[in-house]
């Protein structure tokens, strides 16, 4: 039976006083696939390692299936972790690698065999069982690492950037395999990645992190369509969301580069911000090919199904547009662009926190205005 995971007010402070994770809260339902996503150094792997028991929890509480595991040693948590570098034993065969944890537990040999064979069938590794890891490709090695986790029948599966060592093509196929695996096993999984494509395609819910703090937790579509702040808005989505700093004045959004008239719905949303500075965000695919904003084209990339157009607004602000049509703009062309009013986002300005010496210690991303 898949287990629930409850992470309550988790903090991680290293010996030197560096705080890697701040007040992390998350309730994972049984069988849920949670993806922790964020840039390097945001604390996502540290959080996962705390759940695994590989890092000590400085403050907070961790419950796995209702049992307090905050100080429980890793081996008693009944979790299995798959690492980026596979962590396979080079001198053992695939079979022995997969059977290793069960052999340590002194399980019945027949049971071990059944479990290993069943896992090998699921992962399509039956023909590789007598090979050593060095004889396998990166994808096959990662499958062995997953097989080793599967045979243990753990309460929770933890994946720490398992696909980062693979090439783009293999990563795609392995991603699909992990999706299928989750469906087959219906297991609770926590997955760390910095790749938003993995996060968006795999997750039931995404936890987006930055600088050790949770920025937003939600379904992939929620993070994409309703980002909670400027960080999530720019981190999720490829190419990233275009952001313009400006001021709400007299029913329009005014920035140094252009004036953009607001419709009734937007005015209603921004009624408390009249005269205040805000950020307008628009995804490249929500930029339209006609409108009041002048774009000086610098690059035109035809990708077959769509065209990425890079340009500058007001001679400095770089804007990326994604048009569904095949375009043939040349560098130096100037076109008028607009923003799909139903798909524009408004954010408050980010807040910067400084220490006594005037050094920037934290930047709180601008909150979404809803």
């Amino acid at each position: 039976m898949p287990a629930s995971v409850s992470i309550q007010h988790l903090d991680k402070i290293y010996d030197g006083g560096v705080q890697a994770v701040w007040d992390f809260n998350l309730e994972v339902a049984p069988g849920e696939f949670i993806v922790l996503v964020g840039p390097s150094g945001c604390g996502k792997s540290t959080t996962l390692r705390m759940v695994a028991g590989l890092e000590e929890i400085t403050k907070g509480k961790l419950l796995i299936d209702g049992n307090d595991c905050t100080v429980k040693p890793a081996k008693n948590r009944d979790i299995a972790m798959v690492f980026q570098n596979y962590a396979l034993y080079g001198h053992m065969t695939v079979y022995e690698n997969m059977a290793f944890s069960l052999t340590l537990r002194k399980e019945n040999k027949e049971i071990i065999h059944r479990k290993v064979m069943a896992a090998a069938e699921i992962l399509d590794l039956k023909s590789q069982l007598n090979k050593k890891p060095k004889q396998l490709s990166g994808g096959q090695r990662q499958r062995v690492a997953m097989g080793r986790a599967i045979v243990r029948n753990p309460k929770v599966f933890l994946f720490d950037e398992p696909l980062s060592n693979l090439d783009a093509k293999l990563r795609g196929s392995m991603r699909r395999e992990i999706m299928l695996l989750h469906k087959k096993l219906n297991a609770t999984m926590m997955y760390v990645t910095h790749d938003q494509t993995e996060a968006l395609t795999l997750a039931d819910r995404i936890v987006c992190m930055s600088m050790g703090r949770v920025q937003q937790i939600g379904k992939p579509i929620e993070l994409y369509e309703s980002p909670a702040n400027t960080f999530v808005a720019t981190f999720i989505g490829l190419p990233p969301m275009n952001m313009f700093e400006g001021r709400v004045e007299g029913g329009s959004f005014k920035c140094s580069l252009f004036d953009y008239p607001l419709n009734d719905k937007q005015r209603e949303k921004l009624k408390d911000y009249d005269g205040k500075e805000v950020i307008l965000g628009v995804r490249p695919e929500n930029v339209t090919r006609s409108g009041p904003v002048k774009l000086l084209i610098t690059n035109n990339e035809n990708l077959g199904m769509n065209t990425l157009v890079h340009g500058k607004v007001g001679g400095k602000k770089i804007v990326i547009c994604k048009f569904a049509e095949w375009c043939n703009y040349k560098p130096g062309d100037e076109i008028g662009i607009g923003f799909n009013p139903d798909m524009t986002h408004f954010f408050e300005l980010p807040v910067q926190e400084f220490d006594a010496n005037g050094k920037l210690v934290n930047e709180i991303p601008g909150k979404a205005i809803r």
Binding site: E96, R114, E121, N153, L180, K184
Partner: protein, 210 residues
């Protein structure tokens, strides 16, 4: 859990015969101990043909034993016979030197009563009389031979089991996949048969999404 012979035999396809290999290595170790004692007894005297012969024989036994241990580990039946031959060689060696030592000791005892108490060598810090040294040499060779015999027998039994099992799979007499699924103790959240159903439904869903 009831033992299923087909599954037990199937394990042999993926696991090496470490037990047989271990016994072969055991035989090799006792052979080394024998040679250490033999050399310590003969070290003080002038080098003679016996030492040269013994060195060559020991090296040969070591090399063949090691190669055989690796081979029986991989269920190579021919090396079962090699190990049996090695066991015979070790038994034969008992009659070449160790029994001679004991015989000479007996003769010495008859000619000079009390003479046998004189230490012939020091071995691992303990003084050994000629009769004790001779007996220990016999014990080492006997243990070495016994290990080779065990290795040979175990190697034969497992290699035969595996051979029969592979033949049965190849002839279709046993469908090992079906056997594994019939009595599936795979408790990873998916019970018997459901693995396939879950896989099919997952694949169908994925195709629909595509």
């Amino acid at each position: 859990m009831e033992k299923n012979m087909a599954v037990s035999n199937d394990i042999l396809r993926y696991k090496k015969n470490k037990l047989a290999s271990l016994f072969a290595i055991g035989g090799l170790v006792f052979n080394c101990l024998y040679f250490m004692l033999f050399y310590s007894i003969n070290n003080s005297s002038l080098y003679k043909l016996l030492i040269g012969f013994s060195v060559v024989l020991t090296l040969a036994v070591l090399l063949v034993a090691f190669y055989s241990s690796e081979s029986v580990k991989n269920y190579k039946k021919i090396f079962v016979a090699v190990l049996a031959v090695l066991a015979a060689v070790q038994i034969a060696r008992i009659f070449i030197y160790p029994l001679q030592v004991i015989k000479i000791t007996e003769e010495l005892r008859a000619a000079q009563p009390g003479g046998e108490a004189k230490y012939v060598t020091f071995y691992f810090g303990a003084g050994l009389t000629p009769s004790a040294a001779g007996s220990l040499l016999i014990v080492y060779l006997a243990l070495s031979a016994a290990c080779f015999v065990c290795s040979s027998v175990i190697g034969y039994v497992y290699a035969t089991r595996l051979e029969k099992h592979v033949k049965a799979i190849q002839s279709g007499e046993i469908d090992i996949d079906a056997v594994l699924k019939e009595t599936d103790a795979f408790a990873i959240g998916v019970s018997d048969g459901l693995v396939d159903d879950a896989l099919k439904s997952a694949v169908t869903e994925e195709e629909e999404v595509r």
